[in-house]
Assembly symmetry: C2
Homo-oligomer: 445 residues x 2
């Protein structure tokens, strides 16, 4: 896989108003009571995986950390909050000087997660940690949903590359984030140019049906494409008659034709006879790409067909049935007037969570295979020798630690994804529904 270099000058915009109104009114109330400055620990986690999934993949951390550094209130935001009366003067004064000064820990981006894995831990004052809630969840919920779906697609595709091409089926900024998350989870490349610019991802693409329809004949279109993009291009062969198109394509591009793309019909059956036809014409090296509404199940069904790569769109960007990772962000511990930490948790019905700061290890057996997600409540569980520490520090005293963001962060997360998957039991290779691949075990104080 070749990334282009990341010399992009994309500038992270301010993120402070990607926030629910109530985060700021809570801040106001807490400034009033004085509790705003109590030390607090918030944790982001998912109570469960999407129905039947064996694992989830953490996505978005790199984007999130850049966004937290840009979580500042400028003149425009303050003017809006003042004009609309969202908060009072005391609160506006606090926000004007706001920057996050605490610590943030979490699962590395690309890491596998399970129910109740403490994916992100924010240690700061209540005021600082509270107002980041909405933004943290937006990024993690979206990007993890995409990374989790992408990971299963890549697994189903085996050694064949997957190409992300779902931009048109989701909001434009989500599309850019989705392309990034897909590449972290093992996609080879994306069609999304903005993601190429921001994160240095490899972008690919050649032509759609409209290009063929624009020209008077399919031959005219193919000739123009080959003349302009070279024989190594991928020609879309299903605008009219597939067989005729393949013959025309080979006639024009010769045995250097890079690929043909199939975007409709019975892809298994078509791939078989198109492969035979290409071989008969002497084009053993011309690849076959398929792209029609694929998901992990369709990819698995195509593994027996002579297909060389998969283009995935709608299903990827909508999380293949699970468009959000359903993570929540909960206050689990805060200080009292004596400055001592007190574990806290909501008590009422069906949405309980566990109070106390969490620590997490992935317990591995002697073969290096994961057996448990071990979570210590209020303490670090003892490492039995093979265990892997899951929590990494991202931000220390408000300073971003190096290596987690930008192009470098994507590369590192992609490697983390590959390494984490290799460690999971083989049940994760099964697409059918079942229990999480390993159990989450709490070790209480």
């Amino acid at each position: 896989m070749i990334f282009v270099s990341n010399s992009a000058r994309w500038e992270q915009p301010r993120t402070s108003l990607f926030t629910d109104h109530y985060e700021l009114t809570m801040l106001q109330g807490a400034l009033h009571s004085g509790a705003a400055h109590r030390k607090a620990v918030f944790e982001a986690f998912a109570r469960r995986l999407p129905d039947g999934r064996r694992y989830g993949i953490v996505g978005g951390t790199g984007r999130l950390l850049d966004g937290i550094m840009a979580f500042r209130f400028g003149e425009e935001e303050l003017e809006f909050l003042a004009r609309t009366g969202v908060v009072n003067k005391e609160t506006l004064d606090y926000l004007a000087d706001f920057r996050f000064t605490g610590d943030i820990w979490g699962y590395a981006e690309g890491e596998a997660y399970f129910p109740n894995s403490p994916i992100l831990i924010v240690e700061s004052t209540f005021a600082e940690a509270c107002i980041l809630e909405t933004y943290i969840l937006s990024v993690l919920n979206h990007d993890s949903a995409i990374a989790s779906a992408a990971s299963r697609m890549v697994m189903a595709a085996g050694q064949r590359p997957c190409i992300e091409m779902g931009s048109r089926r989701t909001q434009e900024e989500s599309a850019t984030a989705a392309a990034r998350a897909a590449v972290i989870a093992g996609f080879d490349s994306t069609s999304n140019l903005e993601a190429g610019l921001r994160y240095g991802l490899k972008t690919v693409g050649t032509a759609a049906h409209s290009f063929t329809l624009l020209h008077d004949t399919e031959r005219d279109a193919f000739e123009a494409q080959v003349a302009s993009l070279g024989a190594g291009t991928s020609l879309l062969v299903d605008t009219y008659d597939v067989e005729a198109a393949v013959r025309t394509a080979v006639d024009i591009a010769g045995d250097k034709l890079g690929a043909v793309r199939l975007d409709s019909g019975d892809l298994v059956e078509q791939a078989q006879w198109v492969r035979q036809l290409l071989d008969d014409l002497g084009n053993e090296h011309t690849r076959i790409t398929v792209t029609s509404d694929l998901d992990e199940y369709a990819i698995a069904a195509l593994q027996s067909a002579p297909v060389d790569s998969y283009g995935v769109g709608t299903s990827l960007v909508t999380g293949s049935g699970a468009p959000t990772a359903s993570m929540v962000y909960k206050l689990v511990s805060r200080t009292n007037d004596a400055g001592e930490f007190v574990s806290v948790a909501k008590a009422a019905k069906n949405k309980t969570s566990k109070g106390g700061r969490k620590y997490a290890l992935r317990r591995l057996n002697d073969n290096g295979t994961a057996t448990q997600e071990l979570i210590g409540v209020g303490h670090r569980p003892a490492d039995d020798g093979n265990d892997r520490t899951l929590l990494q520090q991202f931000i220390k005293n408000g300073e971003l630690l190096p290596g987690w963001t930008g192009h470098e962060g994507v590369l590192r997360a992609r490697q983390r994804h590959a390494d984490s998957l290799a460690e999971l039991p083989t049940v994760v290779h099964r697409l059918h529904r079942g229990e999480p691949a390993i159990p989450t075990i709490y070790e209480e104080n």
Copy 2:
């Protein structure tokens, strides 16, 4: 409903790289063949509605039009495209000067649509219309999916207001767009501050469980909130024991207490006894808001309970099972070398579409109820006297026509939504699955 005024100075960023790589390589190929400058008509439409839905609602048009005006290639974009070799020098020169100079027509934002309704029609050169494809579909597919889901929720809620609070469950920019789409489809307000700033929407919010957990007692938390936000605030009463919380709330805020919020448990049963308790305590005017994972079906089930407003999150921002509207954008007509328009359409398997420029009327009976979506192919169907013309012009010779964007556009779209729904047959009030509310009828040349 009160909107705040829209004096926001939010500036639309450039949108040109929210684009699939292949749009630009097609441009390059077409510049090479010369066909790039042929006149072309592209149309955006959905081949079908989400499974069982009776209608869809067009969302995103106002955002889209602003974005098309900002679809320009600056130094940063051109440098990226050059450095990564996406396109050649000739194409870069074309893009450097690019601005859209054609005409754009479409269904007004907020309008109901049906299978094959020509939701957006772009008339320009192939070059100009082609490279807008991905961005147009991203905006329309996302925002229409949200508006369509929101419309059903508002219908299920009857006269009770719905509040959008799903920001945390979707990507941060999608959240802002979703808030806007929800308000267009009749939601009363949103928790999303960025949407408040950009579009002048009413934002609301008070406190979450963490605010209660932060304080030593629930009473401390409620006192702080009431002292800071006033007795008219909404107190969240399910952190510990609901009955005790309601009694504490009334004790602190008195009969001026604005609302209590229930976020867990059996909402129907709880709303009933909480209403009774509030009444018994003399708080007949204190409202009850419910917020726990609601969708249109849960809202319908709560209509018999004494609930005053619904807060909707996850289900809204994920389109209630249909996170994308599945619209496509197809070349339907283009000129030949003689300058004459020729209808074009893909012929191969299972993804056919109908060539030729479309015109659309909503046929109404004498009672003003819609009976047909009448689509003329290549001509305007004759109006039988009651019909309503659906296509509006948004952009003329590259100039944005007034009234469609910004705060004004949101207000206008919200009115369009209300008026269009009032015109549809009563079957649209049913939540269960069925056929589209009216059939789409083609009138051929």
